[in-house]
Symmetry: D2
Subunit: 348 residues, 4 copies
Amino acid sequence: VETRGGLAPGPKNSMTDVPGVRVGHVTLIEGDAVRTGVTAVIPGDDVYPLKYPAGAHVINGFGKMTGLAQVQELGRLETPIVLTNTFSVWQAGDGILDYVLRRAAARRVPVHSCNPVVGECNDSRLNDMAGRHVRASHVVDALDTATDAAVPQGAVGAGTGMVCYGFKGGIGSASRRWTAAGASITLGVLVLANFGRREELVVRGCPVGRLLGGPGAALDPADRKRTDEGSVIVLMATDAALSARQLTRVARRAAAGLARTGTPGNHGSGDFALAFSTARSAPPYEPDEGERLNPFFAAAADATEDAVIHALLQARPMTGRGGFRVEALTAADLRRAREIWARRLAEA
Amino acid sequence: VETRGGLAPGPKNSMTDVPGVRVGHVTLIEGDAVRTGVTAVIPGDDVYPLKYPAGAHVINGFGKMTGLAQVQELGRLETPIVLTNTFSVWQAGDGILDYVLRRAAARRVPVHSCNPVVGECNDSRLNDMAGRHVRASHVVDALDTATDAAVPQGAVGAGTGMVCYGFKGGIGSASRRWTAAGASITLGVLVLANFGRREELVVRGCPVGRLLGGPGAALDPADRKRTDEGSVIVLMATDAALSARQLTRVARRAAAGLARTGTPGNHGSGDFALAFSTARSAPPYEPDEGERLNPFFAAAADATEDAVIHALLQARPMTGRGGFRVEALTAADLRRAREIWARRLAEA
Amino acid sequence: VETRGGLAPGPKNSMTDVPGVRVGHVTLIEGDAVRTGVTAVIPGDDVYPLKYPAGAHVINGFGKMTGLAQVQELGRLETPIVLTNTFSVWQAGDGILDYVLRRAAARRVPVHSCNPVVGECNDSRLNDMAGRHVRASHVVDALDTATDAAVPQGAVGAGTGMVCYGFKGGIGSASRRWTAAGASITLGVLVLANFGRREELVVRGCPVGRLLGGPGAALDPADRKRTDEGSVIVLMATDAALSARQLTRVARRAAAGLARTGTPGNHGSGDFALAFSTARSAPPYEPDEGERLNPFFAAAADATEDAVIHALLQARPMTGRGGFRVEALTAADLRRAREIWARRLAEA
Amino acid sequence: VETRGGLAPGPKNSMTDVPGVRVGHVTLIEGDAVRTGVTAVIPGDDVYPLKYPAGAHVINGFGKMTGLAQVQELGRLETPIVLTNTFSVWQAGDGILDYVLRRAAARRVPVHSCNPVVGECNDSRLNDMAGRHVRASHVVDALDTATDAAVPQGAVGAGTGMVCYGFKGGIGSASRRWTAAGASITLGVLVLANFGRREELVVRGCPVGRLLGGPGAALDPADRKRTDEGSVIVLMATDAALSARQLTRVARRAAAGLARTGTPGNHGSGDFALAFSTARSAPPYEPDEGERLNPFFAAAADATEDAVIHALLQARPMTGRGGFRVEALTAADLRRAREIWARRLAEA
């Protein structure tokens, strides 16, 4: 892998390379039309009441991420983050609350307030989203079974029914690790990838979508003018001490990583990014933070780009609601596109 | 009533003076500890899929209003707005979805996506909030029974368990009506008032809170250092054609109305404002919008101030969770404070 | 003085109660029509290259404050702040640059970049603003002569030609001091007050503007429909260690202080607030910052309200461009208004 | 040219394809060390007092664009836009004011206020920026000589001393034209390109910077740790009726166009985008704007990418301050990089 920013991936090339971060999936595949699930990201033990510094950025706000205003005001994350489908946001928030209340009760910590963070994408092309098959208990299960193993990718958890660039999408993850001032720093990214049109897809510079052709599955076959589909959620974790303002700056670089995969950011794509630090400490005051932050910016863009490609390559084809089938992008597809591309470049 | 901006209230002095706007309450008072409810605001028929221009402003983001990012991105409201307690946001969102899906199904309108807007305040001083007694069906009931009558105020609906400036708070409403270019314009405000410390309360310039004294009920009697209480939601409706940007400007004037009632905006108060237009049409391009907008700004501040005072004066005392009792501010209290104030001013 | 938040002013009740902060004025009164000037606020020695944590808030953006985007991105102030009239922003920025380059050269510090912060209000009712009588050298003079004495108030410096609530306005200042965790904390405010209509003015709850009556000078006598006048700049300093995010939260409370003086925030009023810390150190990570921050919020609102009233009461009447005369609000006016008010309250 | 979004360039592939838009340059090359200039963009006749709908987006705020707060509050541009070097912002604003006042006086239009919009990048690697060689009269010249010819590109006007991806940068422009609802729509982009490190450069997917190697000129040869350099300004014009909110959405897509050229958005790069409409009319209210807006988003990203590449390819090598020389990227360089890339892809 040639990575643009010159930084190497962590040992798992996964968000869980950041010590303490755990990820859990619950995948719901039932009958012909249930193709959905839940993905939970836990920053570390006792997120409530300890809280973690966090910052967020709305790239294109056609979508929702609950709890955003409080994260932006206080610069703190006080619950795990849960991803799911658009219509199950409410069960997800309720499930986070169940989880927080149960754990707090066990320790006799009072919970006066709670700000669940839920991100969503629309999986209604493959999933019976209106059936709201995700229940709060599924969310608690995803949280209770979260581990620090390399994050399972593709059509799992919240990614089960997602479509990306007209191919099967879903969950992807990646990481970068570097050394600064003698200390190791890791930044990990997890994406829920459900955005883009096939003709837009670019993989490491190669315009794969146009080269492979085909209609893609991005548009509702019954209504090609629909513009409300898509969305992507980008979550970032780091073990370095960054302030909420700095984490917001890092989160904003998700936009660069997504853009490298080809999309200009379509109207109907609800694109949100959130970054948190597991360090729970304030960085010292520094008049010039540039030399320290630039590697985070490169890592954020690179790992976001990687995570999207991982989501595509790890997904398997799926048939869902109404018999609709979405194909997966394969390594062979990529190779084929690269060969055509090499020929065209040589001829140009 | 001397109103600062020189504009007169509408006939009901209530948000429902705006034609088409309906408000419904479901009040839950059960046993010793259930003191909560739901308030629903419907901009007009068929909010989904017609959508209404809207703008929002976060005054202090320690709280949540779901759907805000999409309202800000698209400048559109596509569901009714529901207010409830902090832990019942999830049932509220799910209830809005039930309502939208049911109505859309009846008309065979497809619902590809949906962005419920839910505002919340923390009623845990009087209510067993952790019991999550609000169900999605209560939300649907509040929506189905919404009317254009003068909004019932005080300890009703979402206001049932709220506390404001150490007195019993809850729902308040007010309106302003004026004529511009020969046409009548109405701006209506509804607040869910659950903010402020007793010593901060100012009523039309009179420092009522300090003059009446008493500890107030704003702070948890068991933990006087708690800083996470409070919050207020301000909703505004107008029948004038305003753009989303202009509605955002109007919504920002809620901050002035709240400030006149005394609070500096405490840390733990999640203060959100949202304004929508029932006109569903774009105002013409105008290089200078000031002469047209200034009355909206005055009306927004005035009606917000009024609505908070209405919430206080219309509320009745309430005893709730753990036998905690919150007194109501009465007209006699106000009179007494005004007399003391008149004496002090005369002596100064 | 009864101050709402219960905090006492510092010894000078002035922004310069914050150790290290210096303020300088250059006042230009020449002939019939030059009524303008410059006010400079220096956070401390060597603001370039040391930089000071800062946060800013736009209350109503009809106006300009240069350098805002960088202050918000980096959370740092790297030059003194200069206030002047709307058309002299450019000489002000150039003057800051002169000052920074000269001082840096003396120490052989390279200046690769520089982000001057200039705030402005429109003094064209009294001043020949189009004549652009402020020169960069005036700005350097204001900077070079800045002292930590109690800030001269009223019609001085940038306040020379300003009009507030139809009375003569200008520069006002105030402070609050309190003790937390055994340490003394000071918050100082300086306003450039040039906003509001006479009928809106409220002084400590008393609707002085309506009670005193009179047309005020807020509107152009030649064009009563003009809506582009006014503006206010609120600058805040504290010696406590606050992060940029926290300083932004403090700056937002300027809106409450302004609202208490009566304005709903008119269309044409460019209202900006900026807060900086002289501590140049990061506060420790704290999951709950509320108990620590609430006094800053109260102090910010209270001192802003005070500073506006000081600006009004310290200003003297002025005749300027075209023979236009603006009267000053006097202590006798206030007394008279208070007496009327006391009678009305007693009769109500 | 393969353009990603499938939209064709306008006849000049330049911002001036938008009817009414004019661009003027003043280039200052004097002696060994003056390498700077001014670029002026005029939306149309009589921008003051007519005003044009506009929206802006701060991609990375290490820099300044004067007037931004007012553009965002009112959604209006009321002056031409001028680009220049960081230290000449003040002369640029003053020059815009000269121009507006002179034209208004000729028509007896009163100018109560004025909000000049100035964007800047740091050209101090090649230019004696501290010498402030741009005068207000240069700005007026650039405005007075602006034409609707294809925009001269490369090292001209404000671009004279700029460096981009370690190569000679400067001014670039591009456009897209399409038909919607039977009407022709044009979107034009102009960039002032002064950002990026050589190793980051990607041209249409090919990692040119890494393939060509070489140290680049992005970093100060005397101080390789400097992180405060760079910046890019992206200006967009369209003849379609878009609201300020919609123009803001379009401006945000500049980030995707820039990201495609390789940069993750470095700390010290002040990256601003502003879009305006020459239509001066409000679009009709539309519940779903997606189908109409998506081509604007694709066009904005595509034309921004193009404009950066044009800036690089049109620039000529330059030697400036201290004998520092910056090479230009040539078509031969691109060909060479593409050949290496084709080989590597074929071998992979």
